[in-house]
C-alpha cells in the first residue's frame, strides 16, 4: 500500500484537511498568477496611454507594485508546497533519514514560528492602519491596508502550510517531498 493511501485509510480526517489545504494554496497561487498577467496588461496600457493619448496614467505604477506584492505573498505558500524556495541541500542529503527527520521538524517549527509572528504583526499593523484611516504614500491615495493586508494573508498561508508539513512529519513520518509530488500532480 502506498503511503498516501495508507494515510487516507488510517486517518481520513487528516487526509481531507491536507487536501483542503492543498486546494487553498493552489487557488491562492492561481489568483496570484492571474495578477502577474494583469500587471503585464497594466504596463502595456501605460505605454499606450503615454504615446498614443499623450496622457500618462497615475495608477499603473502603484497598482503594478501592489499586484506584484499580493501575487508574491499569495504564491509563497504554493512555492513552499512545491519546494520552490531555494535551499542548500548538500549536507541534509548526506545524513541518515532518521536524523534528517529530526532536523526537518526543527526547521519547520522555526519557520512556523517566524510566519506566525509576522502574521500577528501584520494583522496588528493592518487593523491600526484601518482604524487610523492611513493612506498609501503615493500618487494613488488608497487605504494602506489594501496592499498591506497581503502580508498577514501571505504569511498566514505560509504558516498553515508549515503546520501541514509538520503534522505530516510528526504523525506519519511523511517527508515533505511526498507532499510536493502531490501538489504537482
Amino acid at each position: 500500500m502506498s503511503k498516501s493511501v495508507y494515510i487516507k485509510a488510517a486517518n481520513p480526517l487528516w487526509h481531507r484537511l491536507d487536501n483542503g489545504l492543498l486546494q487553498l494554496v493552489t487557488w491562492a497561487a492561481r489568483l496570484g498568477g492571474l495578477m502577474l498577467l494583469m500587471v503585464g496588461l497594466f504596463v502595456l496600457y501605460e505605454v499606450v496611454c503615454r504615446y498614443v493619448f499623450q496622457s500618462p496614467t497615475l495608477w499603473v505604477m502603484d497598482c503594478s507594485i501592489y499586484f506584484v506584492m499580493w501575487a508574491v505573498l499569495l504564491g509563497s505558500a504554493y512555492t513552499m508546497r512545491t519546494r520552490g524556495h531555494v535551499l542548500v541541500d548538500v549536507v541534509i542529503n548526506k545524513i541518515s533519514p532518521k536524523k534528517r527527520r529530526v532536523v526537518q521538524i526543527c526547521l519547520h517549527t522555526v519557520i512556523l514560528a517566524f510566519a506566525l509572528t509576522i502574521t500577528a504583526a501584520g494583522v496588528h499593523s493592518c487593523v491600526r492602519a484601518y482604524q487610523m484611516k492611513e493612506l498609501t504614500m503615493s500618487a494613488l491615495y488608497i487605504p494602506l491596508y489594501y496592499p498591506m493586508s497581503s502580508i498577514p494573508v501571505g504569511f498566514g498561508l505560509m504558516a498553515l502550510e508549515e503546520l501541514g508539513t509538520l503534522f505530516n512529519l510528526i504523525l506519519f513520518n511523511n517527508s515533505d517531498i511526498r507532499r510536493k509530488e502531490k501538489a504537482h500532480s
Partner: protein, 425 residues
C-alpha cells in the same frame, strides 16, 4: 552580535533551511534582540517597503515572458532557424547553440531559463551527432550563463533595485562584455570541432531556411522590441518587460501555440519562480535591517580605510568572495546578501557602480556552474539523466577559463563596459 548573526545564518543555510527563511528568521530575531517589542510593530512596514519597488516589478514580467516563449515553443523555432543557417559549418551544432544562447539571452533575463531551453533542444542532437559529452554539457551550461550578462538581465534588475543605479545603464553596460564572451565561446567551439573532426550536417536549402524564418518570425521581433525600446528610451526596463509579456502572449495565442486553457500552468510556474526570488528579498531586507543597525558596512569601510586598500585590490578580494559564495549559493541570494554591504564601500573608495555591476554579473555566471550548487549544472542533469554532476562540471572548465579571461579584460579595461552607456547618455 555581528559575528553571531552571520554564524546563525550560515548554520541555518547549511542544515537546509530555505535561503529566504534563514535570512528572515535571523533578521527578525536580531530585530527583537535590538529593538525589543518595537520590532513587532515595525516588521510589517519593513516587509511592505521591501516589496514596494517598480523596478522589482520587471522580474516577474521577464520570468513570465520567458515561460510563455518556452511553453509555446516559440523559443524552439528560434533555435531551428539559427540551426538552419549555421548547422552545416564545422561545429555547426555547437555554434547554433552558442548563438541561440546569446539570442535567447537578449529576450530572457534568466540564465537557468536559457540553459533549460537550449539544453532540451541541443543536447540530445549534439550527442547523437557524436559530439563529446563533456564538451556538449559544458557548452550548454556555460552558454546558458550568458542569460544574465546579455540584457535584459534579472541579476542586473536586482542590482538596480537594491542600489538605485539606472537599470537601463546596467543593461547597456553588459552588451559589449556579453558579445565578447559569445565570441570567445564561438571561437573555442570551432577550434574544438576542427580538432575532433565532427561530422557536419547537410546544409539546409533556402526554402527550408525561409520556412524556419517564417516560423521563428514571432520570436525574432522580441529582442529589437525589448532591447531597442529600452535603448531608444521608449520605455523603462519594467515597461519593456510588460510589453514583451503581452506581445509574446498575443503571438502564442494568435499562432495557436498556446491555448487560454494551457495558460494557467505557465502562470503558476512563473509565480513560483517570482515568489522564490522576491521572498528572498523580503528575508534579506529583514536581515539587512539588522546589518544596518549594527553599522556593518560603515565598520568595514573604516577597516578598509585603515588598511589603505586600493580599488583594484578590493575588486579582486570581492571576486574571490563571490566565487567562494558561488559554490554554495545561487545568484539571487548572493546578490541580495552581499550588495547592501559592498555597495557603500564601492562608493566610498570611488569604484564606478555600473562597471562593478558587470564584474559582479560575470562572477555570478561562475556561481551558476560551480558545484555543489550550480543551477545550470542541475539543468543539464535534468535533460540528460545519466550525466553526473562531476562530468558536467568538468565540461564547463574550459569555458570557465574563457569567462575568467573576459572578467580580467573587463577589470583591466573598464571602457568595455562603460563606453556604451556613456555613448547612449
Amino acid at each position: 552580535m555581528t559575528a553571531l548573526i552571520f554564524i546563525l545564518v550560515s548554520l541555518l543555510l547549511v542544515v537546509g533551511m530555505p535561503v529566504a527563511f534563514s535570512l528572515g528568521v535571523v533578521g527578525l530575531s536580531g530585530l527583537f534582540a535590538l529593538e525589543g517589542s518595537g520590532a513587532f510593530f515595525g516588521v510589517t512596514m519593513i516587509i511592505y517597503e521591501s516589496l514596494h519597488s517598480f523596478t522589482l516589478t520587471a522580474i516577474p514580467l521577464f520570468i513570465l515572458m520567458a515561460n510563455i516563449l518556452i511553453h509555446s515553443r516559440i523559443s524552439e523555432d528560434l533555435y531551428r532557424f539559427i540551426h538552419s543557417l549555421v548547422g552545416h559549418w564545422p561545429g555547426g551544432l555547437g555554434i547554433a547553440t552558442v548563438l541561440f544562447c546569446a539570442g535567447f539571452s537578449a529576450i530572457s533575463g534568466s540564465s537557468v531559463a536559457t540553459a533549460a531551453t537550449v539544453g532540451m533542444l541541443a543536447v540530445p542532437e549534439m550527442l547523437q551527432m557524436g559530439y563529446d559529452r563533456r564538451f556538449t554539457f559544458g557548452l550548454v551550461a556555460a552558454g546558458g550563463t550568458l542569460g544574465i550578462l546579455i540584457p535584459p538581465s534579472l541579476s542586473m534588475i536586482l542590482y538596480g533595485a537594491l542600489t538605485d543605479v539606472s537599470v537601463g545603464d546596467l543593461f547597456i553596460a553588459g552588451i559589449i562584455p556579453g558579445l565578447i564572451l559569445t565570441g570567445f565561446f564561438l571561437v573555442y567551439t570551432v577550434i574544438h570541432a576542427r580538432k575532433r573532426g565532427y561530422v557536419r550536417t547537410r546544409p539546409a536549402g533556402w526554402s527550408e531556411r525561409a520556412g524556419a524564418f517564417r516560423r521563428s518570425a514571432w520570436g525574432l521581433v522580441l529582442p529589437p522590441l525589448v532591447l531597442g525600446g529600452i535603448y531608444l528610451g521608449w520605455f523603462t526596463p519594467t515597461e519593456a518587460a510588460g510589453v514583451g509579456v503581452v506581445y509574446s502572449l498575443a503571438a502564442a495565442l494568435v499562432s495557436r501555440r498556446l491555448s487560454i486553457l494551457k495558460l494557467m500552468p505557465v502562470l503558476l510556474s512563473s509565480l513560483r519562480t517570482t515568489a522564490m526570488v522576491l521572498v528572498i528579498i523580503v528575508g534579506a531586507v529583514l536581515f539587512g535591517h539588522v546589518v544596518t543597525i549594527l553599522h556593518v558596512p560603515q565598520r568595514l569601510i573604516t577597516f578598509l580605510g585603515e588598511l589603505d586598500v586600493a580599488p583594484w585590490q578590493f575588486i579582486i578580494l570581492v571576486c574571490i568572495i563571490f566565487i567562494f559564495l558561488g559554490d554554495f549559493l545561487e545568484v539571487v541570494s548572493i546578490t541580495i546578501i552581499t550588495l547592501p554591504i559592498i555597495f557603500p564601500i564601492l562608493l566610498a573608495i570611488g569604484i564606478d557602480p555600473v562597471w562593478f555591476a558587470v564584474i559582479m554579473t560575470i562572477n555570478m555566471e561562475f556561481a551558476l556552474i560551480t558545484p555543489p550548487v550550480g543551477l545550470n549544472l542541475f539543468v543539464i542533469k535534468g535533460v540528460v539523466e545519466d550525466a553526473s554532476l562531476m562530468e558536467v562540471f568538468q565540461g564547463t572548465l574550459p569555458f570557465m577559463l574563457l569567462m575568467l579571461a573576459v572578467l580580467v579584460l573587463v577589470i583591466i579595461f573598464p571602457q568595455l563596459s562603460l563606453w556604451l552607456p556613456f555613448m547612449v547618455r
